[in-house]
């Protein structure tokens, strides 16, 4: 397996507060990884620095072997556009576009052929169960439908990696389960690498790897292996209570 992202001795501080302390982390191709940790542990900052959206103070981040330090703004933008997908907690869908237009937006901006757009859209339709809502506007959708639309938008460019920031944070448990199952399915069928931030052990149990962050440092790491979600969930929960992480 090839390395998609490699963080080496990564540190980041806002003013005097050090948010990330000497992080070493490697994400392999096809992995479905969760970063867990209590509020203020640096989860979002880590995601932002790995996804080139935020800068860092020291260390380095390599994406597909290329150092971010060597890349210019333009190269970063092109990289983000072609190799990365994003799913946000509050969806960030454009209210003025239909579901279909929202999903196709990244391709539209890249001036992809219509035939190619339709082909890629068709691939995602069933996996994410969005066929019926294609021509609706975001204001007419439920939270789960919105997040599935956002997921489709993140995947339409066939990115090397998808960054998801608390994707289930705004969803009820049924929609959350549905979304997690769909992401899991996409990860298995298309070998899409997913890096997800969550504070919810249940969401984390769908991943095959969980990284625990605390006060800006990686404190533990777990692999699911062949375990079921239920067993993995219990293991995560046990660790969390052992280190005093609060179950919400």
């Amino acid at each position: 397996m090839s390395k998609i992202i490699e963080a080496k001795n990564l540190s980041k501080s806002y003013g005097k507060t050090q948010v990330l302390k000497n992080i070493d982390l490697t994400i392999e191709h096809g992995e479905f990884t969760a970063i867990m940790g209590p509020s203020g542990s640096g989860k979002t900052t880590l995601l932002n620095t790995l996804s080139t959206i935020d800068s860092f103070n020291s260390g380095d981040v390599l994406i597909e072997g290329k150092s971010l330090l060597d890349m210019k703004k333009k190269a970063l933008r092109e990289f983000r556009q072609s190799r990365m997908g994003f799913i946000f907690q509050d969806y960030n869908l454009l209210d003025t576009l239909t579901v279909k237009e929202n999903i196709l937006l990244p391709l539209s901006l890249q001036k992809t052929h219509v035939a190619e757009m339709e082909k890629r859209l068709a691939e995602l339709l069933t996996a994410l169960n969005i066929e019926s809502i294609l021509h609706q506007y975001p204001s007419e959708l439920s939270g789960g439908q919105k997040q599935r639309t956002a997921a489709a938008r993140a995947l339409i460019t066939k990115p090397a990696i998808v960054f998801a920031d608390e994707p289930t944070g705004s969803l009820d448990s049924r929609s959350a389960t549905q979304l997690l199952e769909q992401i899991q399915l996409l990860n298995r069928t298309f070998k899409t690498t997913v890096l997800m931030i969550t504070h919810d052990p249940y969401a984390a149990s769908y991943c095959n790897r969980v990284v625990f962050l605390r006060d800006g440092k990686i404190v533990n790491e777990m692999f699911k292996g062949d375990e079921s979600e239920k067993v993995f969930f219990d293991r995560i929960l046990t660790f969390q209570s052992a280190v005093g992480g609060v179950r919400r």
């Binding site: 907690q89 960030n92 007419e140």
Partner: protein, 652 residues
């Protein structure tokens, strides 16, 4: 889907926001085009007497209109940019360049301004007849005005709005390049804290406002304004602005805090709107201040101009009391003039007065404050003729003079004086000396009008006793003047023209008519009234839009808050009441303070200039009433829009 397509969709979906933006821009174009159209409208220009003055006022007016529109549109645009930050962030994230987004905004501005420029010019052209007629009506002219689309006006409108689009694009580009992608990941978590007031600052705000009012009240009779006008003006304006700002920031916070500490605070829906206001004071202070000051300014400007317009006839009447006056002509001309006057059926009174013109008299300082405004030669009249004119006009008291007593007649700012001990002497016609017993403000002969020049001087007049005059008349050439009073002096333009045409054929003839001066004065004050009325319209639009944008934004932000209320079982009716009360607190204080400000401004400015004006209070009340009505419409539509937004988002 290309850029134009994206921006077009965006406009279609955000129709509510864009409509107000578009309407404001359209009104801006209509008003700007009207002004520049009036400058080039042949019918209007040909009716105007003083063309230089007209062009200047209209030019300044259109520049001010344009600046106003520009600031307003920049404000609206920055509001849009803020609203669309996330959208731009998404575009950036998906690889769009800042330049491309700026291009998109440029297309939007281009579409909007093209439509509004074309629409505005069409509407403005159609309205040109209407506005031209209003202007002519204000000036009391009867010329007819046709529809007009002057090319120069179309060009200047188009060019200026093209510049505006360029400015908007630059502003947008600067805004976009400041968008931080990190913001996309932050969900709306910002928490406001209720505002803590500071007692000293709350008191300071009241002190500042009272100081400003006190300074204004001194305008009539104190040396402060005469000697240090600039300092007094700056002090007043600063304390009004600062006082207003602090009043809203500190005083209203204090008031709300007191309200929330009252015993019955928790009863009814009070906690809902009071707490929501306490949280939003910080964001609303600038708006409150803006609304207050703008209200005060609009009412002040319109009020002052309306008073000026109302007073204009009185002022001209005082300075030009002779409706038609001319030096008596030869028999033939005289007959023709009488014929014209008889045919007009206007004459209500006629007197002929006889006077003697003296040589040039130097050192007129002892008789006049500004001798340069008076002729060097004096005109001597006997008391009986003075009394005849006083009777003809029905204004002024009759006088009786004996021996070598004389009265000097003045005008304008020259204060009337009674000389009791040190009476100035005046020597005329080489060796006749008179004692000036009184300086009287009474223009017997008025400034010649026929051809009005700034250099036209007020004839210097002294009145002497009949006996003394008889003595002088034996040895000197006498001139007589015919003075007519007519029924409708304000519309006697044509009559005055006809008579002037005859009189002016005689070299050095004297001619003066009330209507000549009245028209010119009326032209400029009508123009100013007209322009200020337009400013008021634009200012109201700006005000309306500022309120509208703010409410739109707040309603959208707080819709979740109302969703919770609804879930808690608060009825629709009650939600309406909450919104109404909350908005009342947003609308009412700036209006009240604005009214109080403008009342002080107008009242003391006017009383400093004019001693008594019975129509002052009706005029101010009328202007305020009109303003109140407009403002009330804003309030009603704001509550309904607010309610609609809040309910819409909850419909799901």
């Amino acid at each position: 889907m290309n850029l134009v397509d994206l921006s077009w969709r965006n406009m279609k979906r955000n129709i509510r926001l864009y409509t107000i933006y578009f309407i404001s821009m359209l009104v801006g174009v209509v008003i700007y085009f009207t002004f520049s159209g009036l400058m080039f409208n042949k019918d209007v220009v040909s009716a105007i007497h003083n063309k230089e003055n007209y062009n200047m006022i209209i030019f300044i007016a259109s520049v001010v209109v344009f600046l106003f529109i520009m600031f307003f549109i920049l404000y609206a645009n920055s509001f849009f940019m803020k609203q669309r930050k996330k959208e731009f962030g998404m575009y950036l994230l998906y690889g769009m360049k800042e330049r491309q987004i700026a291009a998109m905004v440029f297309f939007e501005a281009l579409i909007l301004s093209t439509i509004s420029v074309i629409g505005g010019i069409l509407i403005g052209g159609l309205l040109s007849k209407f506005f031209g007629m209003i202007l002519m009506n204000l000036m009391h002219y009867n010329d007819s005005i046709s529809f007009a689309f002057p090319l120069q006006a179309i060009l200047s409108t188009t060019v200026l709005f093209a510049i505006l689009v360029a400015i908007i694009t630059i502003q947008s580009y600067l805004n976009i390049s400041r968008v931080q992608l990190v913001e996309l990941f932050r969900s709306k978590e910002k928490m406001d804290k209720p505002y803590r007031f500071s007692m000293p600052l709350a008191i300071l705000s009241i002190i500042l406002i009272i100081t400003a009012y006190y300074l204004l009240s001194l305008a009539g009779d104190s040396g402060i304004w005469k000697n240090n006008f600039r300092i007094a003006l700056i002090a007043t304006i600063t304390s009004i602005i600062l006082g207003t700002y602090l009043f809203f920031r500190q005083f209203s916070g204090w008031l709300l805090q007191k309200l929330s500490q009252r015993n019955n605070y928790l009863i009814g829906n009070k906690p809902l709107w009071i707490s929501s206001l306490r949280f939003s004071i910080r964001g609303n202070t600038v708006n409150y201040t803006f609304i207050t000051l703008l209200s005060a300014l609009v009412i002040f400007a319109v009020g002052i101009i309306a008073i000026d317009y109302a007073m204009k006839a009185d002022v001209v009447e005082k300075e030009y009391p002779n409706h038609i006056a001319f030096s008596t002509q030869n028999e033939q001309t005289q007959k023709r003039i009488e014929q014209i006057l008889n045919e007009s059926k206007q004459v209500i009174g006629h007197e002929t007065i006889t006077g003697i013109k003296t040589e040039k008299i130097l050192n007129r300082e002892s008789y006049f404050i500004n001798p340069n405004y008076y002729t060097e030669e004096f005109y001597i009249f006997p008391e009986s003729h003075f009394n005849a004119i006083a009777e003809l006009r029905g204004v002024g008291e009759k006088i009786g003079l004996i021996g070598n007593e004389a009265i000097v007649l003045t005008r304008g700012v020259d204060e009337p004086t009674n000389y009791s001990d040190s009476q100035p002497e005046i020597t005329v016609l080489t060796d006749y000396t008179f004692q000036v017993i009184e300086k009287m403000r009474y223009p017997l002969l008025t400034i010649p009008t026929g051809e009005i020049k700034i250099t036209s001087l007020q004839p210097s007049v002294i009145v002497i006793s009949n006996e003394a005059f008889k003595l002088l008349a034996e040895k000197h050439r006498i001139t007589s003047y015919d003075i007519y009073q007519i029924k409708n002096p304000k519309t006697s333009n044509d009559l005055s023209r006809k008579i002037y045409d005859l009189v002016s054929k005689t070299e050095g003839a004297y001619y003066s008519a009330f209507v000549d001066m009245y028209s010119i004065d009326s032209e400029s004050s009508s123009l100013i009234l007209f322009s200020v009325a337009f400013y008021a319209v634009i200012a109201l639009f700006a005000l309306g839009s500022v309120i509208y944008f703010k409410q739109l934004q707040e309603a959208t932000e707080q819709s979740e808050h109302y969703a919770i209320l609804r879930k808690l079982g608060v009825s629709d009716k009650e939600i309406k009441t909450v919104i109404r009360k909350k908005l009342l607190f947003i609308f009412l204080p700036p209006l009240i303070l604005g009214f109080v400000h403008s009342w002080h401004l107008i009242y003391y400015t006017v009383t400093a200039l004019v001693n008594d004006l019975p129509s002052l209070i009706p005029i101010i009340s009328f202007v305020m009433g009109l303003y109140l009505l407009t403002y009330f419409i804003f309030y009603i539509s704001s509550t309904s829009i607010y309610y609609r937004i809040v309910s819409e988002k909850n419909a799901r």
